[in-house]
């Protein structure tokens, strides 16, 4: 069994959807970002409202109320489950079955935020997140929502030229996956690290030769030729 933070959901189409759950740290960072954005927005709005005296104060307090309670609700309900802070951290809120978040779900999870805040600094929410299997705080449990990482847009893969080479061992499925991962992610690794990895496959060759051989084998698996 693998222990990771991936959640598999079978959709009505019979396909399997994989969600990757967000833990406390990215969520806290997203929350802090939102807090800063809200504070800044309120400060900017306060300046012109000061000109209107006590009437402006009244409007400011209405805005304060909306910012405190409805900023997350409106953004999550109308903007694909993301507040600006969540978007910046690459997070989104969805329902437990992968369905999009509506106004009701968003309202429940955000109204109950106060319970998660108790007694200070989201201590209750943090503890509940640690002990629930899907990293949900109390509001998430009541609304049946999850906070997930939204996959980053994938850059177009550079073309890999060159010929392939048939591997000299019977290829298992896992081997195939590893080779493909090597070909996908190799470009992001330093040459030394690539050679280190290649040396695991071909300990008898010199590091540079091993790397080239492994790349050829990976190209064969990919079927570039």
């Amino acid at each position: 069994m693998r222990i990771d933070d991936q959640l598999h959901i079978d959709t009505p189409e019979g396909a399997r959807l994989t969600l990757s759950l967000a833990g406390p740290l990215p969520r806290a960072l997203a929350y802090s970002t939102d807090l800063a954005i809200r504070g800044l927005a309120l400060a900017v709005i306060a300046i012109p409202l000061m000109l209107f005296g006590r009437g402006g104060m009244g409007l400011y307090m209405v805005l304060l109320f909306l910012m405190e309670w409805f900023y997350p609700v409106l953004f999550e309900a109308l903007w694909q489950g993301r507040t600006p802070g969540k978007r910046m951290m690459g997070l989104a809120v969805v329902h437990g079955n992968g369905a999009p978040l509506g106004f009701n779900g968003s309202l429940v999870r955000n109204l109950l935020r106060t319970a998660d805040l108790f007694p200070i600094f989201y201590l209750t929410g943090f503890v509940v997140m640690l002990i629930t299997p899907r990293a949900q705080r109390l509001g998430d449990l009541a609304a049946d929502t999850l906070v997930i990482h939204t996959p980053p847009a994938r850059a177009a893969r550079p073309r890999q030229d060159g010929d392939g080479e048939v591997p000299d061992w019977p290829l298992s499925r896992d081997d195939q996956l590893i080779l493909l991962a090597f070909s996908d992610r190799g470009a992001g690794l330093s040459t030394q690290r690539q050679e280190e990895l290649a040396a695991l496959a071909y300990p008898e060759l010199a590091p540079a030769a091993a790397r080239e051989k492994l790349q050829r084998v990976a190209r064969h698996v990919l079927g570039g030729a």
Partner: protein, 328 residues
Amino acid sequence: MRQSQFEQRYRPQWERLETSLAALESPRRPDPATLTGFSADYQSLCHQLALTRERGYSLALQEYLNGLMLRAHRQLYRYHTPLLPRLVAFFTTDFPRAVRHQWRWHLISTLCFVLSAGLVWAMILHDPELVHTVVGPQQVADLEEMYHPDLRDASGRDRQDDVMMFGYYIYNNIGIAFRTFAGGLLLGVGALVAMLFNGSFFGAAAGHLTLAGAAQPFFTFVIAHGAPELTAIFLAGGAGLRMGWAVLAPGSWRRVDALRRAAGECLPVMYGVFALLVLAAFIEAFWSSRELAPQIKYGVGAACWTLLLLYLLFAGRGSRSQESHGSE
């Protein structure tokens, strides 16, 4: 089929799906022409994702298709219902029905408030010094300044103050109601404490001002907006207790499922609480502050209470409400 052939063959389809998704995710209404192939593309995407996993294509491709499918799934299962008919149905049937459905909890929270208010009120009439155990010295001074006929200065009050107080009531009262509800999730303790505390405070204010000879200004001020405001606080407390009870005693449900059911039942109540408190803030800022004969203010106040109680008790009964049942 090798991975590169697979990608080559289906790449245009995935790109078409990405275009549709970009159109659907933008806040503007998407052009129907871009969406013609959306559901067919989505279905074949499901198939291709399964193939990709089965054939052991690269993880990067799997991740890409999974991400695409996640986005498409979210768009396909999104639903929008027209707002206006829902609002009408909500206020004519759903809200009062949701309140009556949980009447026990609302009764308990109302009793917590009323009994603690009555107790503190009676205690202060018995021993006036007790007010200082409930209310701080600054708040006592504020109360006297606001309501005492000799101390208050209503002449300077104008539109500006009305707007300012409106903002304050929105910020303060709705915040209290929402916090009371959320506090209920902590095994009901938060809601219970909030109801007892608010009840004691109200009782202390009423008792103290009665003794100070400011009973009439106080009650003429609070009676009209008190109807929606106090009712909303009672309802928020009741909904909070319902949430706490779902966690404490889930019955034959899993705790999480009991909590979700309770949240679903409480949601219409909380929408109603919000509406009631906005109404209360309007009345409080723009009507309660008017200087009128006490008879008029008591009359209007009594009308507010009667109408609200009749509404909560009787609106949405009968056959018509059967249709809206199960519209969740």
